[in-house]
Amino acid sequence: MKNFTLRSYKSGEEANIVNFLNLCYGFWGKPDKWQRLYPEYPNFNDNDIVIIEDKGEIIGHRGLHFRNLALSRESSVVTVSSGDTAIHPRHRGSGLDRELHDTALQMAKARGAGMAFAWHLKGSASYKRNIRSGFIEIRQPPVYAQIIKPEKVMKAGLLHLIHRKGKLREALAESKELYLTMGNIRLSLAELAGAEREDSGKIVEVIINKDALPLLVNFRSWGRWQRIGSLIRLLITGKARVRTNAPGALAKLGIRGLKVLASL
């Protein structure tokens, strides 16, 4: 980690850390969330936050949580779980993430952790890295959801995906003709991706029925082929349809969309 300083958390820098996480995640949360997740967590110690600093600026963050895992009624083992991990966008792809990961786990082991846990989206870069470095996947029972306002769930899901997928964000920011409609909500995907509104009169509108949500709700957890398959299924079953006044723009968007989906 040349020229960078690796250190633990110092009291008083909470706002800086949260600003940094918001920069990296698009929207991560507010200081009270960080406070509750870390300093208020049982047995918290300053070393549970690993910071990478470059000339006084935070460029990396990894949270650790230590807790006992009861393997049976009689016995338990100290474990470490990886919390929020973030690398400054300027330093992504430089291997800093891996160094932060390895160093944090070595520190955890030295502090008595017998097992390390992490949560990912299946197929994500961190998932692949962990599987390569000796982690195994553990089966969990399902989580159940009741969706009360499908439109808002769809919008939040899209924002979440856009904030975390740079290629998707770039492609959508250029797709100024593209709109997504569900119920009475109509979203400009370029605007969601942070671009300025531009009204050229050309519209490609993807209209999704509310009953399509069960098919889309696991979109984030799927691999690329499952994602493409689910979108094709929506179109074939009529749960989604496309309306446009600009066939040329539709063809362009279709090609760009497939490329982006394949790269996610």
């Binding site: 949360g29 509750r36 997740l37 208020e40 049982p42 047995n43 949580h65 807790r67 006992n68 895992l69 009861a70 393997l71 049976s72 009624r73 009689e74 016995s75 338990s76 083992v77 100290v78 474990t79 779980s81 990886s82 929020d84 955890a108 082991k109 008595g112 952790a113 017998g114 097992m115 390390a116 992490a118 949560w119 990912h120 989206l121 299946k122 998932y127 962990n130 599987i131 000796g134 982690f135 195994i136 996947e137 553990i138 089966r139 969990q140 399902p142 989580v143 159940y144 959801a145 009741q146 969706i147 009360i148 306002k149 808002k152 769930v153 919008k155 939040a156 069960p214 957890s221 799927w222």
Partner: protein, 253 residues
Amino acid sequence: MPRSELVIREYNKADLPAILKLYERCPAETPRFARDKDFVSYFINKASAEGNVFVAVKNGKVVGVAMVSITVEEELTQGSIIELQAQDTQTLPGLVKTAVDYCTQRDVDMILIAPPFDTRKVFKNWLMLQTGVMTVRLEAPLPFLKALLDTPRIRNSFAGRSIVFQVDKEIIEVKITSKGIETIQRDTLVKGAINVALPSRVLLQIVCGKLSPLKALLTLKLRTRLTAISLVLKLFETARLPQPWFIPLADGL
């Protein structure tokens, strides 16, 4: 009101000892993160700050608890039943209904729950979600082996045995008696002892039921001497951890 009727009400501080007893009375059937006083208080405080906590009481005894958190992220108001602990499946529907009603009254956009039992009937009208994937790695074999093997079943079945595990580069001798397990870090394998060599990943795969010990043996991922095969296979079968691991939303980070 008959005394045996189930009453669901808001939590108050005096309920904490009874909730801790509920966790003691109903230990998880699968590996589970700590539910000691520190953690239960932390989850109650978190839920109280973000939502509410409800207890189910029957015959004056706390028989269930539901902790509800309401968060707003990316314009989405989400109600999550982050912890749901009940003495039996009959207590569950009432607790879930109270928690759901609470969320609905607060105009949430969606409600999430990771229920503790196989409760498909209670959630038949809910969407089943594929959540993120949980991955695990063994960092230190010694404390893991101690925790894994220190159970009455292992102590009763293998008392008097001494087994030397070589996990990655670490060598650990495990001495099993009827009263407990002793684990000793060694520099070299012990001559004449039952030596078992395997990578940490294979050890985890076996105890988590992802790889049968016999298959590991046949594919040379697990090595031991010929005369010890039957004992080693039996040991791993006995030590296998139940699946799937139940991780409540409260433990998600």
